[in-house]
Symmetry: C2
Subunit: 378 residues, 2 copies
């Protein structure tokens, strides 16, 4: 009887048993990584250790190969499991500067400010939040502050910084605005002590700072704020140092162009009014993803995006140049000049170099993931 | 001694043991799903059964909740594991029409044609490939064909179809071109028998047809080609029926707009020549993804994209309207009219409706996945 072919039901029951064991392993693993987290926060080791992650994956890939399991499957699963442990298991962090008496976060009740307040508190700092109605008491609040972090909307940043002329001489003044030249100049002008410009490259909905980028623009007194950068690293973030002007030029390309183009795409769709449901049902993974990248913009705060686009001085010039490129391309289509289009396409491809191929590989992984998530209940 | 806190090394060894068990479970599971695949191909059951997938996930989510494991973690892992089993375990498929003597795939050596040749062969059909140099023998090849599938580049499709005037009366004529109105009309004109327009919404690098969309535009004699649609469903694909003109209008929005905009973005970057490496290092997950979506275009065949953009008659009109929207938006930025921008933003948001929020949720999942994959070896 044992050699008879199993029925589908029997096979499915056996699969269910294995899946159940999988959940048990995850529960045990979470208990272990919680202990690792506790140990690390006591000893002061960073959460995210790229070498350990790479080694762990390498070992399991080798085992997978020997067992006839695709190594990429094991790698994908382990990365997903590790993400969860990064995001959920680390409740407290080592404090890199216990001598700091107080941190004041100006705008600490805002979306981004809240994250920093939370992270500082979980690292055993005393944190005070200064909101609009607290300005009458500001001097009192600043009195023994070791760090004042400005986390207010872009358009208010310079005005708020201009008020910070009475901080203690040794207090660090830092900001987390998404432009860097003007806030940094304003901080250097308002305050004679250590000054640091930061741009956290993540949204307020981030689950943890592990692997997130924080751009660092040095202002004055780098030795005095070294502990702060070390603290951010302890949270798992990756620091990228650059000059404030380089940063702003890059952001015009990265943020302004993309948000503006998504806005125009949305405006175009809303005006032409195609059947959105049909568009989605007819779309392949890549188009669904591109459409989602446009759609997601409009689920967010318009003021934030207006500020990003309108408050960058490079915007009008850069968007004008983009419009020129668009019209040149449109001319090629209107005059049916496919040959020239292909010629330019290849030239652009050589500008991108190896990055083009790498993007194809990277985005393919994501598109497969997008397919995994399709339930076809629609 | 047993109650002393474990060292980091000990904890890591225990984690490694669990990860090793995970790989063992995957190997056992793959053996079981291979058996399921064999069974299904014998009995003629489709690979992808949405209800089974949903039920399997539901059960493990419940178990996860009880075990203190995040249900979304278990769901993500199971979806990834199932993807692998969809893609690797199904070697053969039930043939839905064993009475068909022969299938001819015109352009069957091309990227997309090859996929259909492979799928038909794995479903026990006799498949013959007709390439350019085979035209002298074409009539012979078509003599006892039950299906002729045209899978040639867009620009050749109509000319190739025009030659297909001598197919057997009962032979099905179908195509897989990414436009549908013209090829369908050409097929109905050339052939008096059953005619079917298909548009597979996936690229030639697809690992399997599971969950992939195939657009169906009915031509003539739907009863005669019902087996073919059933066969495609057997491969795991999802059929979306629509009219040829609706399809082409939707593709102008979906394909032409996105590819053209990515092209312009690439042209803009190559012209302005910023430091690409720095742009990437300073980018948050969403910008890296958007940049990758542009970069990936230029790793691909320019002719294909030129054909898609230039051969759609709606292109010039639609791109012109997009340019108008762009200039209107640019005017708002140039005149610092933030209020009007925000007003329009909200109006577009209400056009997108629930889709905007859904995209935010969906794309966030993908961005987290993009973070998982970052190794920071750069």
């Amino acid at each position: 009887m044992a050699t008879l072919p199993s029925t589908l039901d029997e096979l499915r029951q056996q699969i269910d048993q294995l899946d159940s064991q999988l959940v048990e392993i995850l529960a045990k693993r979470a208990a272990l990584t919680a202990k690792v987290g506790q140990y690390k926060s006591q000893v002061g080791l960073p959460i995210y250790v790229p070498e350990r992650e790479a080694e762990l994956i390498k070992k399991r890939r080798q085992q997978a190969k020997q067992s006839g399991v695709p190594p990429i499957l094991v790698e994908d699963l382990l990365r997903r499991i590790m993400r969860e442990s990064y995001h959920t298991q680390h409740v407290n962090y080592l404090c890199t500067n216990p001598s700091i008496k107080k941190i004041v976060v100006v705008g600490g009740a805002g979306a981004l400010g809240r994250i920093f307040v939370d992270m500082f508190r979980r690292s055993a700092y005393t944190v005070v939040v200064l909101e609009q109605h607290d300005w009458p008491q500001a001097d009192e609040m600043f009195a023994d502050a070791g760090l004042v972090l400005v986390a207010v909307p872009i358009k208010l940043t310079e005005a708020v910084i201009a008020k910070l002329t009475t901080l203690p001489r040794n207090c660090i003044l830092a900001d987390v605005t998404s432009t860097k030249q003007k806030p940094l100049l304003a901080m250097l002008k308002a305050h004679q002590g250590p000054v640091l410009g930061l741009h956290p490259m993540f949204g307020p909905d981030v689950a943890s700072l592990v692997k997130q980028v924080v751009v660092v623009c040095h202002g004055r007194g780098a030795d005095d704020y070294a502990w702060l950068l070390q603290q951010i690293t302890m949270w798992g973030a990756i620091l990228q140092v650059c000059e404030a002007d380089e940063h702003d030029a890059a952001m015009a390309f990265i943020q302004v162009m993309r948000h503006f183009c998504s806005y125009v795409m949305g405006a175009h769709l809303a005006t032409e009014n195609p059947n959105l449901k049909q568009l989605i049902s007819l779309s392949s993974p890549i188009y669904r993803l591109e459409l989602a990248m446009v759609g997601r913009l409009f689920a967010q705060d318009p003021t934030l995006y207006a500020d990003i686009i309108f408050d960058n001085e490079a915007s009008v010039d850069l968007l004008g140049k983009f419009a020129q490129q668009f019209n040149q391309g449109l001319d090629l289509v209107a005059t049916k000049n496919k040959g020239e289009f292909i010629k330019r396409f290849l030239k652009i491809g050589s500008w991108f170099g190896d990055y083009a191929k790498q993007s194809l590989v990277d985005s393919k992984k994501l598109l497969l993931k997008a397919d995994d998530d399709r339930t076809w209940s629609e």
